[in-house]
Symmetry: C2
Protein backbone atom coordinates (compact mmCIF):
# COMPACT_ATOMS: atom_id res chain seq x y z
CA UNK A 1 0.00 0.00 0.00
CA UNK A 2 3.02 2.35 0.07
CA UNK A 3 3.02 5.09 -2.50
CA UNK A 4 5.35 7.92 -3.27
CA UNK A 5 2.76 10.55 -2.37
CA UNK A 6 3.01 12.07 1.04
CA UNK A 7 0.67 14.94 1.73
CA UNK A 8 2.06 16.98 4.59
CA UNK A 9 -1.27 18.47 5.56
CA UNK A 10 -4.72 17.38 4.38
CA UNK A 11 -7.76 19.48 5.19
CA UNK A 12 -11.14 17.71 5.07
CA UNK A 13 -14.28 19.84 4.97
CA UNK A 14 -17.14 17.51 5.89
CA UNK A 15 -15.75 14.54 7.80
CA UNK A 16 -18.23 11.75 7.11
CA UNK A 17 -18.08 8.22 5.70
CA UNK A 18 -16.06 9.15 2.60
CA UNK A 19 -13.74 11.83 4.01
CA UNK A 20 -13.20 9.80 7.19
CA UNK A 21 -12.44 6.59 5.31
CA UNK A 22 -9.98 8.39 3.03
CA UNK A 23 -8.14 9.85 6.04
CA UNK A 24 -7.93 6.40 7.65
CA UNK A 25 -6.70 4.84 4.38
CA UNK A 26 -4.02 7.51 3.87
CA UNK A 27 -2.84 7.15 7.46
CA UNK A 28 -2.65 3.35 7.05
CA UNK A 29 -0.57 3.86 3.88
CA UNK A 30 1.71 6.38 5.57
CA UNK A 31 0.73 8.82 2.84
CA UNK A 32 -0.37 11.76 4.99
CA UNK A 33 1.17 13.88 7.72
CA UNK A 34 -1.47 15.91 9.52
CA UNK A 35 -5.23 15.68 8.94
CA UNK A 36 -7.25 18.79 9.85
CA UNK A 37 -11.03 18.71 9.79
CA UNK A 38 -13.69 21.37 9.55
CA UNK A 39 -17.47 21.28 9.70
CA UNK A 40 -20.52 23.11 10.94
CA UNK A 41 -20.71 21.44 14.32
CA UNK A 42 -17.97 20.41 16.74
CA UNK A 43 -19.68 17.22 17.91
CA UNK A 44 -18.96 15.01 14.85
CA UNK A 45 -15.49 16.54 14.63
CA UNK A 46 -14.86 15.52 18.24
CA UNK A 47 -15.93 11.99 17.38
CA UNK A 48 -13.57 12.04 14.37
CA UNK A 49 -10.75 13.09 16.72
CA UNK A 50 -11.60 10.26 19.10
CA UNK A 51 -11.67 7.75 16.22
CA UNK A 52 -8.19 8.81 15.10
CA UNK A 53 -9.48 10.19 11.81
CA UNK A 54 -8.36 13.76 12.56
CA UNK A 55 -5.36 15.27 14.31
CA UNK A 56 -7.23 18.50 14.98
CA UNK A 57 -10.15 20.55 13.75
CA UNK A 58 -11.19 24.14 13.21
CA UNK A 59 -14.80 25.28 13.04
CA UNK A 60 -13.72 28.18 10.82
CA UNK A 61 -13.17 26.66 7.32
CA UNK A 62 -10.57 29.21 6.19
CA UNK A 63 -8.46 28.53 9.29
CA UNK A 64 -8.66 24.78 8.67
CA UNK A 65 -7.49 25.27 5.07
CA UNK A 66 -4.47 27.40 6.03
CA UNK A 67 -1.20 25.68 5.15
CA UNK A 68 -2.94 22.59 3.73
CA UNK A 69 -1.43 20.93 0.64
CA UNK A 70 -4.77 19.43 -0.27
CA UNK A 71 -8.29 20.53 0.66
CA UNK A 72 -10.89 17.80 0.22
CA UNK A 73 -14.59 18.68 0.09
CA UNK A 74 -16.60 15.89 1.68
CA UNK A 75 -19.85 17.82 2.14
CA UNK A 76 -23.21 17.08 0.42
CA UNK A 77 -23.48 18.66 -3.03
CA UNK A 78 -25.84 21.36 -1.77
CA UNK A 79 -23.17 22.67 0.62
CA UNK A 80 -20.32 22.79 -1.92
CA UNK A 81 -20.75 26.41 -2.94
CA UNK A 82 -20.98 28.04 0.52
CA UNK A 83 -18.23 25.80 1.92
CA UNK A 84 -15.92 26.59 -1.01
CA UNK A 85 -16.56 30.30 -0.46
CA UNK A 86 -15.82 29.92 3.25
CA UNK A 87 -12.59 27.97 2.57
CA UNK A 88 -11.35 30.40 -0.06
CA UNK A 89 -9.61 32.96 2.21
CA UNK A 90 -7.47 30.15 3.68
CA UNK A 91 -6.34 28.65 0.37
CA UNK A 92 -2.70 29.18 -0.67
CA UNK A 93 -1.41 29.60 -4.22
CA UNK A 94 -0.40 25.97 -4.41
CA UNK A 95 -3.29 24.38 -2.53
CA UNK A 96 -4.84 21.49 -4.45
CA UNK A 97 -8.63 21.31 -4.13
CA UNK A 98 -10.68 18.21 -4.76
CA UNK A 99 -14.10 16.84 -3.83
CA UNK A 100 -15.99 13.55 -3.59
CA UNK A 101 -19.38 14.63 -4.96
CA UNK A 102 -21.60 12.09 -6.77
CA UNK A 103 -22.28 14.56 -9.61
CA UNK A 104 -19.61 16.66 -11.22
CA UNK A 105 -21.27 19.28 -13.43
CA UNK A 106 -22.79 21.04 -10.42
CA UNK A 107 -19.47 21.02 -8.54
CA UNK A 108 -17.75 22.64 -11.51
CA UNK A 109 -20.57 25.23 -11.63
CA UNK A 110 -20.13 25.87 -7.89
CA UNK A 111 -16.38 26.38 -8.32
CA UNK A 112 -17.02 28.72 -11.24
CA UNK A 113 -19.47 30.70 -9.12
CA UNK A 114 -16.97 31.07 -6.28
CA UNK A 115 -13.71 31.52 -8.25
CA UNK A 116 -14.98 32.92 -11.58
CA UNK A 117 -13.64 29.84 -13.36
CA UNK A 118 -12.69 26.29 -12.31
CA UNK A 119 -9.25 26.81 -10.69
CA UNK A 120 -6.44 24.88 -12.42
CA UNK A 121 -5.64 23.21 -9.10
CA UNK A 122 -9.25 22.04 -8.52
CA UNK A 123 -9.56 18.38 -9.56
CA UNK A 124 -13.19 17.17 -9.37
CA UNK A 125 -13.37 13.54 -8.21
CA UNK A 126 -15.96 10.87 -7.45
CA UNK A 127 -15.06 7.68 -5.62
CA UNK A 128 -17.49 4.92 -6.71
CA UNK A 129 -17.73 3.51 -3.22
CA UNK A 130 -19.89 3.92 -0.19
CA UNK A 131 -22.47 2.13 1.85
CA UNK A 132 -26.00 3.07 2.85
CA UNK A 133 -24.49 4.18 6.16
CA UNK A 134 -23.24 7.70 6.74
CA UNK A 135 -21.23 9.64 9.28
CA UNK A 136 -17.65 9.29 10.45
CA UNK A 137 -18.57 6.34 12.72
CA UNK A 138 -19.17 4.28 9.56
CA UNK A 139 -15.71 5.10 8.15
CA UNK A 140 -13.19 2.33 7.56
CA UNK A 141 -9.76 2.38 5.88
CA UNK A 142 -10.41 -0.26 3.20
CA UNK A 143 -13.58 1.33 1.78
CA UNK A 144 -11.83 2.31 -1.48
CA UNK A 145 -9.69 -0.77 -1.99
CA UNK A 146 -10.21 -2.07 -5.51
CA UNK A 147 -12.91 0.58 -6.14
CA UNK A 148 -12.87 3.04 -9.00
CA UNK A 149 -12.41 6.77 -8.53
CA UNK A 150 -13.40 8.96 -11.47
CA UNK A 151 -11.55 12.24 -11.95
CA UNK A 152 -13.02 14.82 -14.33
CA UNK A 153 -10.16 17.25 -15.07
CA UNK A 154 -10.45 19.65 -18.01
CA UNK A 155 -7.79 21.00 -20.37
CA UNK A 156 -6.85 23.76 -17.91
CA UNK A 157 -6.22 21.37 -15.01
CA UNK A 158 -2.75 21.64 -13.51
CA UNK A 159 -0.71 18.48 -14.13
CA UNK A 160 0.85 18.46 -10.70
CA UNK A 161 -2.51 18.89 -8.96
CA UNK A 162 -3.91 16.02 -11.04
CA UNK A 163 -0.94 13.82 -10.08
CA UNK A 164 -1.44 14.66 -6.40
CA UNK A 165 -5.13 13.70 -6.45
CA UNK A 166 -4.35 10.54 -8.46
CA UNK A 167 -1.65 9.63 -5.95
CA UNK A 168 -3.95 10.26 -3.02
CA UNK A 169 -6.61 7.85 -4.27
CA UNK A 170 -4.06 5.28 -5.41
CA UNK A 171 -2.56 5.35 -1.92
CA UNK A 172 -6.05 4.57 -0.59
CA UNK A 173 -6.12 1.47 -2.79
CA UNK A 174 -8.44 2.77 -5.52
CA UNK A 175 -8.17 2.49 -9.28
CA UNK A 176 -8.18 6.00 -10.75
CA UNK A 177 -9.77 6.75 -14.13
CA UNK A 178 -10.57 9.97 -15.96
CA UNK A 179 -13.59 11.01 -17.99
CA UNK A 180 -15.50 14.10 -19.02
CA UNK A 181 -17.99 15.78 -16.69
CA UNK A 182 -20.98 15.14 -18.96
CA UNK A 183 -20.14 11.47 -19.53
CA UNK A 184 -19.75 11.00 -15.77
CA UNK A 185 -23.03 12.65 -14.93
CA UNK A 186 -24.99 10.77 -17.58
CA UNK A 187 -23.50 7.40 -16.65
CA UNK A 188 -23.98 7.81 -12.91
CA UNK A 189 -27.55 9.05 -13.42
CA UNK A 190 -28.33 5.60 -14.87
CA UNK A 191 -26.38 3.32 -12.54
CA UNK A 192 -26.70 5.19 -9.27
CA UNK A 193 -28.95 8.25 -9.08
CA UNK A 194 -31.98 6.72 -10.82
CA UNK A 195 -31.78 3.46 -8.78
CA UNK A 196 -31.66 5.47 -5.55
CA UNK A 197 -34.75 7.43 -6.59
CA UNK A 198 -36.56 4.20 -7.58
CA UNK A 199 -35.75 2.50 -4.29
CA UNK A 200 -36.66 5.51 -2.12
CA UNK A 201 -39.87 5.81 -4.16
CA UNK A 202 -40.90 2.18 -3.72
CA UNK A 203 -40.37 2.14 0.05
CA UNK A 204 -42.18 5.47 0.39
CA UNK A 205 -45.12 4.14 -1.66
CA UNK A 206 -45.41 0.95 0.43
CA UNK A 207 -44.99 2.96 3.65
CA UNK A 208 -48.01 5.06 2.70
CA UNK A 209 -50.27 2.03 2.11
CA UNK A 210 -52.83 1.34 4.85
CA UNK A 211 -51.39 -2.08 5.79
CA UNK A 212 -47.73 -1.04 5.58
CA UNK A 213 -46.69 -2.79 8.77
CA UNK A 214 -48.00 -6.10 7.52
CA UNK A 215 -46.50 -5.55 4.06
CA UNK A 216 -42.96 -5.25 5.40
CA UNK A 217 -43.48 -8.37 7.52
CA UNK A 218 -43.61 -10.42 4.33
CA UNK A 219 -40.71 -8.82 2.51
CA UNK A 220 -37.84 -11.15 1.68
CA UNK A 221 -34.16 -10.98 0.80
CA UNK A 222 -34.82 -9.65 -2.67
CA UNK A 223 -36.67 -6.68 -1.22
CA UNK A 224 -33.98 -6.11 1.40
CA UNK A 225 -31.28 -5.83 -1.27
CA UNK A 226 -33.40 -3.90 -3.77
CA UNK A 227 -34.16 -1.29 -1.11
CA UNK A 228 -30.80 -1.20 0.68
CA UNK A 229 -30.02 2.15 -0.96
CA UNK A 230 -33.30 3.54 0.40
CA UNK A 231 -31.56 3.59 3.80
CA UNK A 232 -29.07 6.14 2.43
CA UNK A 233 -28.73 9.69 3.72
CA UNK A 234 -31.80 11.74 2.61
CA UNK A 235 -29.97 15.09 2.48
CA UNK A 236 -27.08 13.74 0.43
CA UNK A 237 -29.49 12.16 -2.07
CA UNK A 238 -31.76 15.19 -2.24
CA UNK A 239 -28.65 17.16 -3.24
CA UNK A 240 -27.59 14.54 -5.81
CA UNK A 241 -31.05 14.67 -7.42
CA UNK A 242 -30.90 18.44 -7.61
CA UNK A 243 -27.20 18.56 -8.56
CA UNK A 244 -27.55 16.09 -11.42
CA UNK A 245 -31.06 17.22 -12.32
CA UNK A 246 -30.73 17.30 -16.12
CA UNK A 247 -29.15 13.87 -16.50
CA UNK A 248 -31.48 12.38 -13.89
CA UNK A 249 -34.54 13.76 -15.68
CA UNK A 250 -33.30 12.19 -18.93
CA UNK A 251 -32.79 8.82 -17.19
CA UNK A 252 -36.21 9.10 -15.53
CA UNK A 253 -37.90 9.85 -18.85
CA UNK A 254 -36.27 6.82 -20.49
CA UNK A 255 -37.15 4.59 -17.56
CA UNK A 256 -40.75 5.74 -17.35
CA UNK A 257 -41.13 5.01 -21.05
CA UNK A 258 -39.73 1.54 -20.46
CA UNK A 259 -42.07 0.99 -17.57
CA UNK A 260 -44.98 1.94 -19.81
CA UNK A 261 -43.78 -0.68 -22.30
CA UNK A 262 -43.44 -3.33 -19.56
CA UNK A 263 -46.90 -2.46 -18.23
CA UNK A 264 -48.35 -2.97 -21.71
CA UNK A 265 -46.66 -6.39 -21.89
CA UNK A 266 -48.16 -7.43 -18.55
CA UNK A 267 -51.58 -6.04 -19.50
CA UNK A 268 -51.50 -7.94 -22.80
CA UNK A 269 -50.18 -11.07 -21.00
CA UNK A 270 -47.35 -11.06 -23.56
CA UNK A 271 -45.13 -13.71 -21.96
CA UNK A 272 -42.67 -13.86 -24.85
CA UNK A 273 -41.94 -10.13 -24.70
CA UNK A 274 -41.55 -10.19 -20.90
CA UNK A 275 -39.27 -13.21 -21.05
CA UNK A 276 -37.09 -11.51 -23.70
CA UNK A 277 -36.64 -8.45 -21.45
CA UNK A 278 -35.88 -10.60 -18.40
CA UNK A 279 -33.42 -12.77 -20.35
CA UNK A 280 -31.56 -9.74 -21.69
CA UNK A 281 -31.37 -8.24 -18.19
CA UNK A 282 -30.16 -11.46 -16.58
CA UNK A 283 -27.61 -12.14 -19.33
CA UNK A 284 -26.23 -8.61 -19.11
CA UNK A 285 -26.04 -8.54 -15.34
CA UNK A 286 -24.47 -12.00 -15.09
CA UNK A 287 -21.87 -11.00 -17.72
CA UNK A 288 -20.85 -7.99 -15.65
CA UNK A 289 -20.95 -9.69 -12.25
CA UNK A 290 -17.16 -9.86 -12.03
CA UNK A 291 -17.07 -6.05 -11.82
CA UNK A 292 -19.12 -6.02 -8.65
CA UNK A 293 -17.17 -8.82 -7.09
CA UNK A 294 -13.80 -7.18 -7.24
Amino acid sequence: MLSGVVIERLCIAGVGLIGGSLALALRAAGAVGEVVGTGRRSEPLERALALGVLDRYELEPARAAEGADVVLLGVPLGAMRPVLAALRPGLGEGTVITDVGSAKGCVVADAEAVFGALPARFVPAHPIAGTEKSGVEAAFPTLFRGRRVILTPDRHTDGEALATVRGLWSAAGAEVVEMGVTAHDRMLAGTSHLPHLLAFGLVDMLARSPDHDEIFQYAAGGFRDFTRIASSDPVMWRDVCLGNREALLAALAAYREDLERLTAMVAAADGDALEAVFRNAKRTRDRHLHIFEK
Copy 2:
Protein backbone atom coordinates in the same frame (compact mmCIF):
# COMPACT_ATOMS: atom_id res chain seq x y z
CA MET B 1 -34.99 -29.36 14.27
CA LEU B 2 -36.90 -32.52 15.16
CA SER B 3 -40.60 -32.44 14.59
CA GLY B 4 -43.34 -34.96 14.95
CA VAL B 5 -44.11 -34.99 11.23
CA VAL B 6 -42.69 -37.81 9.24
CA ILE B 7 -43.78 -38.01 5.65
CA GLU B 8 -43.24 -41.53 4.39
CA ARG B 9 -43.07 -40.59 0.76
CA LEU B 10 -42.73 -37.09 -0.68
CA CYS B 11 -43.12 -36.52 -4.41
CA ILE B 12 -41.57 -33.35 -5.82
CA ALA B 13 -42.62 -32.23 -9.28
CA GLY B 14 -39.99 -29.72 -10.40
CA VAL B 15 -36.82 -30.28 -8.40
CA GLY B 16 -35.13 -26.85 -8.37
CA LEU B 17 -33.83 -24.49 -5.72
CA ILE B 18 -37.00 -24.54 -3.61
CA GLY B 19 -38.07 -28.17 -3.97
CA GLY B 20 -34.46 -29.33 -3.62
CA SER B 21 -33.80 -27.24 -0.53
CA LEU B 22 -37.02 -28.47 1.10
CA ALA B 23 -36.03 -32.11 0.47
CA LEU B 24 -32.59 -31.49 1.98
CA ALA B 25 -34.12 -29.70 5.00
CA LEU B 26 -36.63 -32.48 5.64
CA ARG B 27 -33.91 -35.12 5.34
CA ALA B 28 -31.71 -33.19 7.79
CA ALA B 29 -34.65 -33.04 10.22
CA GLY B 30 -35.41 -36.74 9.81
CA ALA B 31 -38.92 -35.73 8.74
CA VAL B 32 -39.15 -37.61 5.46
CA GLY B 33 -38.77 -41.22 4.33
CA GLU B 34 -38.45 -41.46 0.58
CA VAL B 35 -38.19 -38.49 -1.83
CA VAL B 36 -39.31 -39.15 -5.41
CA GLY B 37 -38.77 -36.57 -8.12
CA THR B 38 -40.36 -35.93 -11.47
CA GLY B 39 -39.67 -33.45 -14.24
CA ARG B 40 -39.55 -33.01 -17.98
CA ARG B 41 -35.93 -33.99 -18.42
CA SER B 42 -33.83 -36.66 -16.76
CA GLU B 43 -30.63 -34.62 -16.62
CA PRO B 44 -31.49 -32.32 -13.68
CA LEU B 45 -33.15 -35.28 -11.94
CA GLU B 46 -29.91 -37.27 -12.28
CA ARG B 47 -28.05 -34.34 -10.71
CA ALA B 48 -30.62 -34.23 -7.89
CA LEU B 49 -29.99 -37.95 -7.32
CA ALA B 50 -26.23 -37.36 -7.22
CA LEU B 51 -26.68 -34.47 -4.75
CA GLY B 52 -28.69 -36.69 -2.40
CA VAL B 53 -31.84 -34.63 -2.88
CA LEU B 54 -33.83 -37.51 -4.39
CA ASP B 55 -33.96 -41.24 -3.72
CA ARG B 56 -35.33 -41.92 -7.18
CA TYR B 57 -37.21 -40.27 -10.01
CA GLU B 58 -39.85 -41.02 -12.60
CA LEU B 59 -40.23 -39.06 -15.82
CA GLU B 60 -43.94 -39.94 -15.83
CA PRO B 61 -45.57 -37.57 -13.25
CA ALA B 62 -48.45 -39.92 -12.38
CA ARG B 63 -46.01 -42.75 -11.62
CA ALA B 64 -43.96 -40.45 -9.40
CA ALA B 65 -47.09 -39.45 -7.46
CA GLU B 66 -48.20 -43.03 -6.83
CA GLY B 67 -48.17 -43.87 -3.13
CA ALA B 68 -46.93 -40.44 -2.10
CA ASP B 69 -48.29 -38.90 1.12
CA VAL B 70 -47.51 -35.41 -0.14
CA VAL B 71 -47.07 -34.14 -3.68
CA LEU B 72 -45.22 -30.82 -3.86
CA LEU B 73 -45.39 -28.69 -6.99
CA GLY B 74 -42.09 -26.90 -7.48
CA VAL B 75 -42.59 -25.94 -11.13
CA PRO B 76 -42.90 -22.36 -12.49
CA LEU B 77 -46.45 -21.00 -12.29
CA GLY B 78 -47.00 -21.44 -16.03
CA ALA B 79 -46.46 -25.20 -15.72
CA MET B 80 -48.80 -25.75 -12.75
CA ARG B 81 -51.89 -26.62 -14.75
CA PRO B 82 -50.39 -29.21 -17.16
CA VAL B 83 -48.27 -30.76 -14.40
CA LEU B 84 -51.27 -31.02 -12.06
CA ALA B 85 -53.23 -32.69 -14.86
CA ALA B 86 -50.36 -35.12 -15.49
CA LEU B 87 -50.01 -35.93 -11.77
CA ARG B 88 -53.73 -36.45 -11.27
CA PRO B 89 -54.00 -40.14 -12.30
CA GLY B 90 -51.35 -41.03 -9.70
CA LEU B 91 -52.94 -39.20 -6.76
CA GLY B 92 -54.55 -41.29 -4.02
CA GLU B 93 -57.62 -40.37 -1.97
CA GLY B 94 -55.47 -39.16 0.90
CA THR B 95 -52.65 -37.53 -1.00
CA VAL B 96 -51.93 -34.02 0.22
CA ILE B 97 -51.07 -31.57 -2.56
CA THR B 98 -49.17 -28.34 -2.06
CA ASP B 99 -47.11 -25.93 -4.11
CA VAL B 100 -44.49 -23.21 -3.72
CA GLY B 101 -45.73 -20.69 -6.28
CA SER B 102 -45.07 -16.96 -5.76
CA ALA B 103 -48.68 -16.10 -6.60
CA LYS B 104 -51.67 -17.98 -5.23
CA GLY B 105 -54.78 -16.89 -7.12
CA CYS B 106 -53.54 -18.43 -10.34
CA VAL B 107 -52.60 -21.70 -8.62
CA VAL B 108 -56.10 -21.95 -7.17
CA ALA B 109 -57.51 -21.26 -10.66
CA ASP B 110 -55.25 -23.98 -12.12
CA ALA B 111 -56.43 -26.47 -9.51
CA GLU B 112 -60.05 -25.54 -10.20
CA ALA B 113 -59.45 -26.05 -13.92
CA VAL B 114 -57.97 -29.51 -13.38
CA PHE B 115 -60.17 -30.79 -10.52
CA GLY B 116 -63.38 -28.74 -11.00
CA ALA B 117 -62.80 -27.14 -7.58
CA LEU B 118 -59.81 -26.66 -5.26
CA PRO B 119 -59.44 -30.12 -3.64
CA ALA B 120 -59.82 -30.06 0.14
CA ARG B 121 -56.39 -31.68 0.42
CA PHE B 122 -54.69 -29.03 -1.76
CA VAL B 123 -52.98 -26.48 0.48
CA PRO B 124 -51.53 -23.56 -1.53
CA ALA B 125 -48.24 -22.34 -0.05
CA HIS B 126 -45.55 -19.76 -0.70
CA PRO B 127 -42.19 -19.85 1.08
CA ILE B 128 -40.82 -16.28 1.29
CA ALA B 129 -37.29 -17.41 0.59
CA GLY B 130 -35.03 -17.90 -2.35
CA THR B 131 -32.01 -16.46 -4.00
CA GLU B 132 -31.41 -15.11 -7.48
CA LYS B 133 -29.92 -18.51 -8.29
CA SER B 134 -32.01 -21.37 -9.59
CA GLY B 135 -31.70 -25.09 -10.19
CA VAL B 136 -31.11 -27.97 -7.81
CA GLU B 137 -27.35 -27.22 -7.65
CA ALA B 138 -28.22 -24.03 -5.74
CA ALA B 139 -30.29 -25.94 -3.14
CA PHE B 140 -29.20 -25.96 0.50
CA PRO B 141 -30.95 -27.34 3.61
CA THR B 142 -31.07 -24.10 5.64
CA LEU B 143 -32.74 -21.94 2.97
CA PHE B 144 -36.01 -21.76 4.92
CA ARG B 145 -34.61 -21.40 8.43
CA GLY B 146 -36.28 -18.42 10.10
CA ARG B 147 -38.13 -17.56 6.87
CA ARG B 148 -41.87 -17.15 6.57
CA VAL B 149 -44.07 -19.53 4.64
CA ILE B 150 -47.55 -18.26 3.77
CA LEU B 151 -50.36 -20.82 3.44
CA THR B 152 -53.61 -19.73 1.81
CA PRO B 153 -56.17 -22.40 2.78
CA ASP B 154 -59.87 -21.71 2.32
CA ARG B 155 -62.90 -22.80 4.37
CA HIS B 156 -63.03 -26.15 2.57
CA THR B 157 -59.41 -27.05 3.28
CA ASP B 158 -58.98 -30.35 5.11
CA GLY B 159 -57.60 -29.84 8.63
CA GLU B 160 -55.31 -32.82 8.47
CA ALA B 161 -53.83 -31.75 5.13
CA LEU B 162 -53.26 -28.27 6.53
CA ALA B 163 -51.50 -29.73 9.58
CA THR B 164 -49.29 -31.87 7.36
CA VAL B 165 -48.18 -28.92 5.23
CA ARG B 166 -47.66 -26.80 8.33
CA GLY B 167 -45.57 -29.56 9.88
CA LEU B 168 -43.52 -30.01 6.74
CA TRP B 169 -42.47 -26.33 6.65
CA SER B 170 -41.95 -26.17 10.40
CA ALA B 171 -39.64 -29.15 10.13
CA ALA B 172 -37.67 -27.21 7.52
CA GLY B 173 -37.21 -24.43 10.07
CA ALA B 174 -39.75 -21.96 8.66
CA GLU B 175 -42.36 -19.88 10.44
CA VAL B 176 -45.78 -20.73 9.01
CA VAL B 177 -48.53 -18.12 8.69
CA GLU B 178 -51.93 -18.10 6.97
CA MET B 179 -53.68 -15.44 4.94
CA GLY B 180 -56.23 -15.05 2.17
CA VAL B 181 -55.29 -15.55 -1.47
CA THR B 182 -56.13 -11.94 -2.42
CA ALA B 183 -54.20 -10.42 0.49
CA HIS B 184 -51.20 -12.58 -0.38
CA ASP B 185 -51.21 -11.66 -4.03
CA ARG B 186 -51.62 -7.95 -3.38
CA MET B 187 -48.89 -7.84 -0.75
CA LEU B 188 -46.38 -9.84 -2.74
CA ALA B 189 -47.07 -7.76 -5.84
CA GLY B 190 -45.73 -4.75 -3.90
CA THR B 191 -42.78 -6.28 -2.06
CA SER B 192 -41.58 -8.82 -4.61
CA HIS B 193 -43.17 -8.90 -8.05
CA LEU B 194 -43.00 -5.15 -8.73
CA PRO B 195 -39.35 -4.87 -7.50
CA HIS B 196 -38.36 -7.76 -9.79
CA LEU B 197 -39.98 -6.05 -12.77
CA LEU B 198 -38.32 -2.72 -11.88
CA ALA B 199 -34.86 -4.31 -11.56
CA PHE B 200 -35.18 -6.38 -14.76
CA GLY B 201 -36.43 -3.23 -16.50
CA LEU B 202 -33.54 -1.04 -15.36
CA VAL B 203 -30.82 -3.50 -16.38
CA ASP B 204 -32.54 -4.10 -19.72
CA MET B 205 -32.73 -0.34 -20.34
CA LEU B 206 -29.04 0.20 -19.52
CA ALA B 207 -28.08 -2.85 -21.59
CA ARG B 208 -29.75 -1.30 -24.63
CA SER B 209 -27.84 1.99 -24.35
CA PRO B 210 -25.00 2.44 -26.86
CA ASP B 211 -22.24 2.62 -24.20
CA HIS B 212 -23.61 -0.19 -22.04
CA ASP B 213 -20.24 -1.88 -21.50
CA GLU B 214 -18.76 1.30 -20.08
CA ILE B 215 -21.87 2.01 -17.99
CA PHE B 216 -21.58 -1.26 -16.09
CA GLN B 217 -17.86 -0.63 -15.49
CA TYR B 218 -18.82 2.24 -13.22
CA ALA B 219 -21.62 0.59 -11.33
CA ALA B 220 -21.09 0.26 -7.60
CA GLY B 221 -22.35 -1.78 -4.67
CA GLY B 222 -25.70 -0.01 -4.60
CA PHE B 223 -26.37 -1.03 -8.18
CA ARG B 224 -25.20 -4.58 -7.53
CA ASP B 225 -27.71 -5.01 -4.70
CA PHE B 226 -30.55 -3.11 -6.39
CA THR B 227 -30.24 -5.36 -9.45
CA ARG B 228 -29.46 -8.67 -7.74
CA ILE B 229 -33.02 -9.87 -8.43
CA ALA B 230 -32.48 -9.11 -12.15
CA SER B 231 -30.27 -12.22 -12.19
CA SER B 232 -33.33 -14.33 -11.31
CA ASP B 233 -34.79 -16.99 -13.57
CA PRO B 234 -36.55 -15.30 -16.54
CA VAL B 235 -39.13 -18.06 -17.06
CA MET B 236 -40.13 -18.18 -13.41
CA TRP B 237 -40.59 -14.40 -13.34
CA ARG B 238 -42.40 -14.25 -16.66
CA ASP B 239 -44.87 -16.70 -15.12
CA VAL B 240 -45.17 -14.69 -11.90
CA CYS B 241 -45.94 -11.52 -13.88
CA LEU B 242 -48.63 -13.34 -15.84
CA GLY B 243 -49.89 -15.34 -12.85
CA ASN B 244 -50.31 -12.30 -10.62
CA ARG B 245 -51.23 -9.99 -13.48
CA GLU B 246 -54.11 -8.08 -11.86
CA ALA B 247 -52.32 -7.27 -8.59
CA LEU B 248 -49.09 -6.47 -10.44
CA LEU B 249 -50.90 -4.07 -12.78
CA ALA B 250 -52.39 -2.30 -9.75
CA ALA B 251 -48.96 -2.01 -8.12
CA LEU B 252 -47.44 -0.81 -11.40
CA ALA B 253 -50.12 1.86 -11.79
CA ALA B 254 -49.52 3.16 -8.27
CA TYR B 255 -45.76 3.13 -8.75
CA ARG B 256 -45.86 4.87 -12.12
CA GLU B 257 -48.03 7.57 -10.57
CA ASP B 258 -45.47 7.99 -7.79
CA LEU B 259 -42.66 8.17 -10.31
CA GLU B 260 -44.53 10.93 -12.10
CA ARG B 261 -44.77 12.79 -8.80
CA LEU B 262 -41.04 12.28 -8.08
CA THR B 263 -40.15 13.41 -11.61
CA ALA B 264 -42.16 16.60 -11.07
CA MET B 265 -40.24 17.23 -7.82
CA VAL B 266 -36.89 16.83 -9.59
CA ALA B 267 -38.04 18.98 -12.52
CA ALA B 268 -39.18 21.71 -10.14
CA ALA B 269 -35.96 21.31 -8.07
CA ASP B 270 -38.23 20.88 -5.04
CA GLY B 271 -35.60 19.76 -2.53
CA ASP B 272 -37.96 19.84 0.45
CA ALA B 273 -40.45 17.48 -1.18
CA LEU B 274 -37.69 15.07 -2.29
CA GLU B 275 -36.10 15.10 1.14
CA ALA B 276 -39.47 14.34 2.77
CA VAL B 277 -39.95 11.29 0.52
CA PHE B 278 -36.40 10.08 1.13
CA ARG B 279 -36.72 10.60 4.90
CA ASN B 280 -39.97 8.66 5.05
CA ALA B 281 -38.45 5.81 3.03
CA LYS B 282 -35.28 5.64 5.11
CA ARG B 283 -37.19 5.84 8.41
CA THR B 284 -39.59 3.10 7.33
CA ARG B 285 -36.90 0.79 5.98
CA ASP B 286 -34.62 1.26 9.00
CA ARG B 287 -37.58 0.55 11.33
CA HIS B 288 -38.23 -2.77 9.59
CA LEU B 289 -34.57 -3.81 9.18
CA HIS B 290 -34.84 -6.38 11.97
CA ILE B 291 -37.24 -8.38 9.79
CA PHE B 292 -34.65 -8.80 7.07
CA GLU B 293 -31.88 -9.67 9.46
CA LYS B 294 -33.57 -12.62 11.05
